[in-house]
Amino acid sequence: MTLMLWSAASWPQSLSPYSAFQGLNEAELSTVQVKLGPVGNRLGKEYVLAFTSTMATLDLSVFAPFYRPKFMGSYALDSARPQSFAASPQEVAAVIESVGAVPSIADGGVDSNPGLSFAMSVVKGDTVRVFESMLDTTDARLLFGRLLGALASNAAGAKQVVLYACSRGLLPGPTATDVTAQVSVVTRGFRKDRAHGQYVGKVRLTNTGVLAIPAPVVVAFFPGENITLVGSSGRTCGVWPYGVPYIEIPVGGALAPGAHVGAVLRFENPDDAPISFAPYRIYAGPGFH
């Protein structure tokens, strides 16, 4: 592991206004780096999330001369391994345009109770320009919404942003609806399919309520330690149980009252450990999981 320590020489340098990032040409866009990081007291596993153009290599050291002295402790995570993803220059431009429409973010100020640093760097000619805005939870939630909108076609990037927002309880929208109480669930199995080396089981969902259950319908559960749900649609973050795999059960547009649907579940289970299905939750309709 390498921990970098920044040189203290010649900082802090002046931050640039947001306008310095608007109207960038293609070459300049390819140098833009966007960085999100926690501010203030830390708990748990905090990290920096950053992205840059697919044509550039991430280099967070360019931010160091622009650190705000009052928040030096908050920048310590820049020197640890940041989590990153790539975005196209067009996606970077979309981010700049979308976020720029939120004055309380584009002002480059420090909110009264800041918890998130949103910073960007760009190389213009031979000069590095850096913008930073320190946001409270309200503005941070707005920022995450703008980022997700601009990165809608970047699945890997959007996934990272959702996880970053969710781990702070700052998802920019509602979670899917818990419909567990109006669904009867029957499982069968789970036995080892020796042909594939996987464990196989079946789950059958019946809508026992009087209202149709809108798609998508997902089942979330923790199968057990070191057991992988094959074909998982994702991992929960905003709904309980947290951090477990979920799988979408195809129901068409909705699961009508009295109707049922089944699916085959497959698991990688190298330790041949017992697979658990309970507790589970069924979520339906739009929203974060």
């Binding site: 592991m1 921990l3 320590l5 920044w6 203290a8 926690p38 501010v39 203030g40 007291n41 830390r42 708990l43 748990g44 596993k45 905090e46 990290y47 999330l49 030096m72 402790g73 908050s74 920048y75 310590a76 995570l77 020197s79 640890a80 391994r81 989590q83 109770n113 800041p114 918890g115 998130l116 409270d136 939870t137 941070a140 990272q160 996880l163 970053y164 969710c166 781990s167 702070r168 309880g169 700052l170 923790f222 057990g224 330690e225 070191n226 991992r235 929960t236 973050c237 905003g238 309980w240 149980p241 947290y242 951090g243 477990v244 190298p270 330790d271 450990a273 658990s276 309970a278 507790p279």
Partner: protein, 354 residues
Amino acid sequence: MSRLTAATLVLLCLPTVSVAGAITVSPSCGSPQTHFFVSAGGFRTPCACSDCVPAIYLSVDCCSVYALTQATGCLTDAGTFDLQTSPMQCGPYCPSIFTPGVHVATAYVIGDCLMPGGEYEGYYECVQTTYTVVASVPDPWANGSHLYTDIAGRDSVVITFNPPASCGVADCQAVYLIQSTRLRGIVGSDTLCVPMNTFTYSHVSAAELEKRNATLTSACVRIDADASEADPYMNGDIDGQDIGAHGSSGPTPSPSWTWDSPEATSTDTLLMEFEVDAYCGKGQNRGEFLGKLFWIYKVSPGSVGTAMLDPRRGADLGGPTPEFREAYALWLRVIRGSNPANPRIPSKGGNVCP
């Protein structure tokens, strides 16, 4: 009525296998200080065992280390025991079970069953295995922590668990590090628990803090993991939330490491107490804890924090503290709705007793 003898076996449910019971000692090699975990189970039972009086006995050399009896019913597993903490009764001429050399661990089940005719018939099965004690083994925590100081003078710490090859630590395909934390405010000579939702964490929502606070035990200890994490590991496989790498133990071990950098300010002096436990997450010994290390972080008003190994508690290769276990169980229950994995009862291992 014939009482129990090894020769009068009743019909067993698995008559086609020569031996169904198994016994393992993990690790199979270590020093006198090593925590050897003995697991035994998988013993056959009579098909109708509800009227049996069974017992499982575990011994090492000529020391009796464990006995599990049951009034009536079926008994197939003895469970898992730490030889360092198991009460034992040794004969007057028995050397210590931790004396350097090869030791024999034996498990046997013996039962007496009431048959339909009103008579009793017995059953018996015995398996044994060996483990080796050597004078000393390298300490996986020997270089367990390295401190770094950032440009602002704040400390961060790299925790490393580096098991030696083959001897001293149970084989494990993936060794993860789980950390518990206790945050206390020091006011005069008193210490107060600082719950998550009474401290200022401006980067997370109030709802998220409530969620995390629900994982705080009455002893003010919580597992240091986000509520949204797929696992409680510091060095797991989740991008971003986990940092470091998980290694392995066994014949070709590799180190496991993680990094932490606390950051806290308060009008009171704060003390964060951390316990890092090495945990086997993959392989036949999944569910076993392999050792623990303690470090602390202290910060006074107006100053930067200082991290150091906890001068009050040394690292060891034993299981977690009760406070950690309680926090770990609570985290799993609140976040996942699950319980801690039990060390697995072996389905194979050992040989039929001669």
